[in-house]
Amino acid sequence: MANFIAAKIPEGPLEKKWQNYKDQAKLVSPNNRKKLEVIVIGTGLSGASAAASLAEMGYQVKSFCFQDSPRRAHSVAAQGGVNAMKNYKNDGDSVQRMFFDTLKGGDFRAREANTYRLAQCSAALIDQAVAQGVPFAREYSGYLSNRSFGGVQVSRTFYARGQTGQQLLLGAYQALLRQQAKGKVKIFNRHEMLELVCENNTAKGIITRNLVSGKIERHAAHAVIIASGGFGKIYYLSTLAMGCNASAIWRAHKKGALMANPSWTQFHPTSLPQSGSYQSKLTLMSESLRNDGRIWVPKNKKDARNPNEIPESDRDYYLERKYPSYGNLAPRDIASRAAKEQIDNGFGVGELKNAVYLDFAKAIKDLGKTTIQKRYGNLFDMYEKITGINAFKEPMKISPSAHFSMGGLWVDYDLQTSIAGLFAIGEANFSDHGANRLGANSLLQACVDGYYILPYTLQNYLATQIDKPKPATHSQTFIDAEERVKTQLQTYLNTNGTKTPDEYHKELGKLLYDYCGLSRSRKGLTFVIKEIQRLREEFKTNLLVLGDTNQINSELEKAGRIADYFELAELMCLDALNREESCGTHFREEYQSDEGEAVRNDNDYAYTAAWEWTGNPSQPELHKEKLVFKNVSLSTRSYI
């Protein structure tokens, strides 16, 4: 029997909740702020914006990242844009509409109050970014331009060419470094958090490893903020950076922080397919390509002809066939699943039969090569750089790939986890996207969490810490935590087996992709849980890591991350197994209509599944946060 947990949502009507919260939140006076220390893990959009904003307020901030510079965090790779309710186009946008689009896009599995707040705070973000010097696209008049994105009916996506994430991140990074120069932020690059230190279910600090010297270090603070991003890299092949990992999240989870909806992973439909077993990553091609490209596979499985030689009559434009009104612009989850279905049924194209065609021939014919060049020139160049194929002459080959984790650490309205003083922001938490994230909402959520929400909610917590001294790093809790980390690292080195961390990662990723990826079934999940357990046991006795802990050792870093993935993977499968409905990206084969569409079960599953670590990865405890919808009526998502 599951326990119910509450999110501490403020009273009042939906549109007043955030204001009410801010009006009543506790404050810390400026002279007290410098006595309070905060640790931020991660320097992506959420981490950098939070660290900079908190330092500007006067708190002492320590900022950690595993990369060689804060600017490398994977927010940098977001291409498409960032949503904001500005209604510059006078096309009927409003906070209410943006809220509804986000909630509906997430298949009504997100918290109303959080989603509404996201829409409310969105406009201010554009102001902030412009003031920082982010060169957003502009009209000839000099006013900001925006476009429609991801199947919504208004234009609310702001963009800086195909590098919006990079430009927003640089804005936050520069603000962060400005505070570093002022001595308010200490930056620890090439540092990885390996343990959360807790006393009485309250976060007191972290243990880190200096990835250059190998030194294990203790850091204490009045609050710890996890902004370590998503864990889609668990599938090995994904659009994420090689270093993206779940370790910060997972080690917090093992200290008592609940994990919410861990199995909800968005698969991006337009990334490049795998070309061989050596492959390390699947590059994302902007979704905007689907505005003019047509997706198809040959009608005949054995058709080995060059795509240009396959006549129209032998092609199956399956998205246009199945979803006549949305066609190639169907939402990400639907487009991805449809592609997987074609590939699984043997219609895939390419050497490994693992892709579908994205064809621009018609668009080039209708609009002219110049227009297409202007719209997608840089994407076509990128495609050619990677594959050596000119997409003006031959259709692109694309396939779905793991992209965004809607799940993450469970947080309440304050973005505080179930551990006091431990907050999670950005992709690391679960809160705003429900079961499927709308395009261009991820940059928004990361920024809004860091710039506008956490500074208020964290302060509300820190106000209770003013009279408490900073935890001492020489306490027994810290000493024990450091010892555990050292022992664990030594264990990886001592195992001296035959398989490398990457080999295990690839195997695990493949299992997850096949059984807990785009579609899931009870049978498959039950099977894969056993497989994961088996592989995890093998990992413990057969891992091969060379070198020592006192120097740069990438393999050692990977070993720790994979060990965490093995436990998280099982939780993802248990979560997917528990949810006996299909919603958003979570597609359970048993719960589909006759037409193959997702069937949601609002009576039994309108809740957030928040899992508690019990010490045994196979037996987590389920807590439920009931999702109450007072302001919208739950409709069935239909894109037919």
Partner: protein, 249 residues
């Protein structure tokens, strides 16, 4: 068709070690493989033979994070122009080729281990002034100050820098002028960046000297190797801003 390659890779235990080249052979490589995946393959082979793998920096592997970067056959990021190391693929090489791989070298970029270098000097440069000093909450409504499209586009051209350090690695003077020039040019061309214009350029140029970056002599090699093809004219803009600030002072 599978490829065979010989790799001569710089191995250096730590920043104090003198370092040397080691030669490795790789067989059965797929030409569609990326350069970094080739290094992954090598490392797997090394580990299986109980040899320490080659350390190299990399992260996004799609050309935007700027973390990867090595000298490949004596050229920063390899033979194709305006590319990152992760975007380089083996089809650019011939079966049987020997590839020499060295870390980026500069006084300001000490080698940490093998092909990994410390580029935190770039962060120090940005911290010395590469920002607009607006704090969260201060920003006015975004459309109060229209910015002509061409100015926004110019600013973007400069802002596109990924901070990989190829410009410094390839410069015979180890100058960071392109990196700093791009940031100065980006911020100085926007109305929001005008207030701190003089202070910014003076501080950043001074810091550049302190960090042991060399002087720019306009050989223009940096733009050729820059993954974002950032124009050397941003260096001229840096000089303009610097002289302007000096005169104003």
């Amino acid at each position: 068709m599978p490829m065979k390659l010989q790799l001569k890779i710089w191995r250096q235990k730590n920043s104090d070690d003198l370092g040397k080249f080691n030669t490795y052979e790789l067989k059965d490589l797929n030409p569609a493989m990326s350069f970094l995946e080739m290094l992954d393959t090598l490392n797997l082979q090394l580990i299986k033979n109980k040899e320490e793998p080659v350390e190299f920096d990399h992260d996004c592997r799609e050309g935007i994070c700027g973390q990867c970067g090595v000298m490949i056959n004596g050229i920063a990021h390899g033979e194709p122009k305006n590319i990152t190391t992760c975007q380089l693929h083996l089809r650019e090489f011939k079966d049987g080729d020997t590839i020499v791989i060295e870390p980026f070298r500069a006084k300001a970029f000490p080698v940490l281990k093998d092909l990994k270098v410390d580029r935190s000097a770039f962060d120090t440069l940005i911290a010395s002034g590469g920002y607009i000093g607006v704090e969260t909450g201060q920003a006015p409504e975004a459309n109060t100050t229209p910015i002509p499209q061409e100015i926004a586009e110019q600013a973007f051209d400069a802002a596109a820098c990924i901070g990989c350090g190829a410009c410094v690695a390839t410069c015979k003077n180890e100058s960071a002028a392109l990196f700093v020039g791009a940031k100065i040019s980006h911020l100085a061309s926007l109305p929001q960046g005008k207030a701190e214009r003089e202070k910014r350029v003076l501080n950043m140029v001074n810091r550049m000297d302190e960090l042991k970056f060399g002087h720019c002599t306009n050989t223009e090699a940096c733009q050729v190797e820059c993954p974002q093809d950032i124009s050397v004219l941003h260096i001229a803009k840096l000089n303009y801003e610097y002289l302007r600030a000096k005169f104003k002072k």
